[in-house]
Symmetry: C2
């Protein structure tokens, strides 16, 4: 059996930064060659970043992607890497990119994978299965490919596939079996969701059985707006054995020697009596053509001792979410080239956790915390905010809001909840003024539970460019705080004051205010939010699930009414199956009712 040394480049690219991404491909390809790899595979759309959304309709952008791919092939030869096979995702278009300004949506654009070798683009493959659910809109953007590309590298037939191709039975993996491929390379930009890594391994195993081939699954890592790609790249043999697996949320090369069947030795699938015969879940007709390419003179010498990628251990849920939130924030800040972030520190749990995430993501020198006490702020709140600043080492300032609030109150006739909102808005104005004056990105700190029911002030505490807790329910905020404080080996141990974790939550916008004056207990609230938002359950199903009927009615009404506020909210890292934002789309009209209004 020939041995192929494969390197999976689990790396970070940036949407729109084609030049920077091409540089990264060259850098990691050098690393792969240094490790003796014959083939290195980069994630889906590595060259352009993913998802590029409506940039795909800009012909100049598509043309740039195509040109950059050819330039990259040449540059790799210049780097002495002409004999390394490089699989890389990019965006393509049929023929030259259209020059017409009235492009038909999706027409002719391809989510593509190319194999570069010897200065040439020797093979291309166009993604066959296009996801169009959740955060994905690929029917809007791409035409599906109809042919599987199989490249002969030395004695091994390697099939190229892209991301969603692995999530659906039939199509490319069935065709790969028919083609007798020994290895299927599947390049991905698969966004993180809590526990998604539990789904991926069995999925890759099913497809390996379907193809009757080893599957190399490489995923991107990094944050892009609301999405975080978590890596979790892996290699699974045709009989379902996990051969190697990369860690989550970290860049790196997974290098592994694969003993693969020589192309002529692959059993004929039609007459196969193989023990690992495919179990295709659905009887989907495999109508894909097979396009074959041979790379002449490809050599698969192994010059050093064998390479084993190893199997990285899975991490606990809280560690996984924390890592996602840290990476999501870090990449949002750095890719958008902000030097620093600023946030209000109230002494409460939400702002304390956001500060801890920011410090882990950026270091304390890039984080500014501002205490903005009012007449209603308790002494302990100010102490807790100061204590957090002391523990984390962030730049800490105090800007009392009362003089500004008083100026409004002296000149207008305001009362009740309007005065509560006024205080939150004055704080928003202060943070934005500091942002404009000094160049910080403002972080907002409302958790998913608050956002869901609209327990926030529009243009007040919701002010900010990014919200790390946007998809984190309040009950999970507490869990994360306790988990983070228990990490004794972290650079900053126990960043969050115990009192911020244990005291009852309060907005402190009127005397003795508590969240529980306006909201049900978070232990009762969060399951209803999860059912209604994440699982589209209706009233009857929520009641059947054991929630109190009156509480369900009250909470559903709050969630509907808050739709407009959420529409105006900052992006934030997605960690659940259905985050507010990209993967949940609702009309606004008729959700407000008379006498109820967006505050």
């Amino acid at each position: 059996m020939p041995t192929l040394r494969i390197a999976l480049a689990q790396v970070n690219s940036t949407v729109g930064d084609i030049g920077g991404n091409a540089e990264a491909i060259r850098r990691w390809s050098r690393e792969a060659a240094r490790a003796g790899a014959h083939l290195v595979a980069f994630p889906e759309m590595m060259l352009t970043g993913y998802p590029i959304e409506d940039l795909v309709f800009r012909n100049s952008f598509v043309a740039e992607s195509r040109q950059a791919l050819h330039d990259l092939a040449a540059a790799l030869v210049g780097d002495g890497l002409g004999e390394l096979a490089v699989v890389v995702g990019y965006v393509d278009a049929d023929g030259p990119a259209h020059t017409s300004s009235d492009a038909v949506a999706g027409s002719g654009r391809r989510d593509a994978s190319a194999l570069l070798y010897g200065g040439e683009v020797v093979a291309t493959y166009f993604k066959h299965h296009l996801p169009n659910y959740g955060v994905f809109d690929e029917d809007r953007y791409f035409e599906p490919g109809g042919a599987l590309t199989v490249v002969r590298l030395g004695e091994v037939d390697v099939a190229l596939t892209v991301c969603e191709d692995i999530w659906q039975a039939g199509g490319p993996f069935t065709a790969a079996r028919r083609a007798g491929a020994g290895l299927v390379v599947n390049i991905n930009a698969s966004p993180y969701e809590l526990n998604k890594d539990d789904v991926r391994l069995p999925l890759v195993q099913r497809r390996a059985a379907e193809a009757g081939a080893t599957v190399a699954y490489v995923n991107a890592v990094g944050g892009q707006d609301e999405l975080v790609f978590d890596g979790d790249s892996m290699i699974v043999s045709r009989d379902g054995e996990l051969l190697a697996r990369a860690g989550q949320f970290t860049e790196g090369l997974l290098v592994h020697d694969l003993d693969l069947p020589a192309a002529d030795a692959v059993p004929n699938p039609e007459g196969s009596t193989d023990a690992v015969a495919p179990r295709v879940e659905e009887s989907i007709a495999d109508e894909m053509e097979i396009s074959r390419v041979s790379v002449v003179g490809f050599r698969t010498d192994i010059s050093d001792s064998s390479a084993k990628g190893g199997i990285a251990e899975r991490i606990a849920d809280e560690a996984e979410v924390w890592a996602a939130l840290v990476l999501g924030l870090r990449d949002y800040v750095n890719k958008n080239r902000f030097r620093s972030v600023i946030l209000g520190l109230s002494g409460g749990i939400d702002s304390a956790v956001v500060a801890a995430i920011a410090v882990d993501a950026l270091g304390p020198d890039r984080v500014v915390g501002v205490s903005m006490p009012s007449g209603y702020s308790s002494e302990h709140s100010r102490d807790d905010a100061a204590e957090l600043a002391k523990r984390t080492g962030v730049d800490y300032r105090t800007e009392p809001i009362q003089p500004m609030v008083d100026a409004f109150l002296a000149n207008m006739s305001l009362s009740g909840v309007t005065v509560e909102n006024l205080q939150a808005r004055v704080r928003g104005v202060i943070l934005m003024a500091l942002s404009n004056q000094e160049g910080h990105l403002v972080l907002t700190t409302g958790n998913k539970s608050e956002l869901a029911v609209g327990y926030s002030t529009l243009y007040g505490d919701s002010v900010g460019g990014f919200n790390p807790l946007k998809d984190v329910p309040k009950t999970m905020v507490w869990k994360l705080a306790r988990w983070r404080n228990a990490q004794v080996n972290a650079p900053i141990p126990a960043p969050i004051p115990e009192n911020s974790i244990t005291k009852p939550p309060s907005a402190e916008l009127r005397p003795d205010q508590k969240d529980s004056d306006s909201l049900p207990d978070y232990e009762l609230l969060d399951p209803i939010i999860k059912g209604y938002v994440d699982h589209d359950m209706g009233r009857a199903e929520l009641v059947d699930a054991g929630n109190d009927p009156a509480l369900v009615d009250r909470v559903l009404r709050m969630i509907d009414l808050a739709e407009y506020k959420r529409r105006q909210s900052a992006p934030g890292t997605k960690i659940s199956g259905k985050a507010f934002g990209r993967d949940r789309r609702l009309p606004i009209t008729n959700l407000f009712r008379e006498g109820e209004k967006a505050v």
Copy 2:
């Protein structure tokens, strides 16, 4: 030839208000019966409103739609309308609506048309062509139907189709010819775009030729969040003659007598030597099944003199846009049950035009205008704001901002553009305080040109729940102002002070500031915005089109940088091919650059 009296109900429905929409169907059905109609057709998804977006994933909502359809059939009999054939759009699902909480996206949901008669749902049809471009995401939401439904009413075969079915060659209209249909009823929720009415008539004519049948096209009218449906319902004969056409932006019944071929008399399309043989643009295989239903005992007596729907005249571009903006705002306010709106009146053209739109939409008693002068506000600006209030009769108040601005300046060290933004934000806080205190919806007034290049203050002048000018370029704002002032027969003549139209635009945030200090001339700016935003043109194409290269570079940079601000902006009525919002989706990350920030 039998005569069928058809009524096209060009009416307004509200998303989510199934009960209210069912009432409207009963009310308009009574009108249709009173006019002697045999068949009345309502728009696409009349029963649920359109677009329902992710509500389609809520099983309880789909179940409610299905139940309401059956209840409606019974209620129509109760109203004495059992002998009227009623065609109505609704949302359906295969079999009973799923009860699983983890619904696969789009799975089994149908954009459906039903024919009600004699208390029964006698026929249903599922939309075949699903649009998935621009503002449409129907591949996310629906499964396409595979069969054309043909209902025999008396001697006439009537085919049911839905919206996008008419925008694509092949499919249902080709099948309708094969089925020998005499009439194709096409129900629509087709959003307004400037000059779209010029496209619709030739389109309906092409399909009438393709089907070899008369086509009755009925469109919704009304505003739903960013979309406005403009009506423009029409009937076109099989030889392409426009028989009747409704006006735009108004509710009403278009009642017309159609002489249609008896079902058995329809020429066999295969052997046809007909002069109106179909000219199908593409050789699309017609693989649709045909499902036939007969309504027994259907009577097509005509008891009174013949009905002619007439052909409404098309209106001028400015009148069309004005009507769209007025209807879009009125429906947003009323469907969301706000009693009144409030906006800042600066004396400038944008706020003056928004006030005039609001007064036309709601009447002066429901509009509050607030002058918020600062030390930099000129005397003429205050005069122009007061003059507008006097001409329109809106509730007018003055809230000077200097005391509040001074409170911030006394307590913080702020300078330059930060102080400019501060003034805009204090105005935002004032408007939101009045909104909270008195219950008004805040209108924001930034035009499309400003929004495009980010010439606004985040959480400042961009504060508000709805923006009538969101999709109106500045050069068109001036045109609209002049057009509106020339409408001498309007209830309020010449609402906009001449000085607001003629003076050079200024934000008045520092002494002697002019828009032209920061922006190119709007006559040069707007074509670049149109090319880059509406037509996805790149730099090279924009330069080829005659724009100054340095100016193109500058403007493209501004537009890219403003993406985040636009993401945070209020909804507003769409009038162009590509409005900011639903039909334009771009990543944020990597659009900012170091030292540049969202202000």
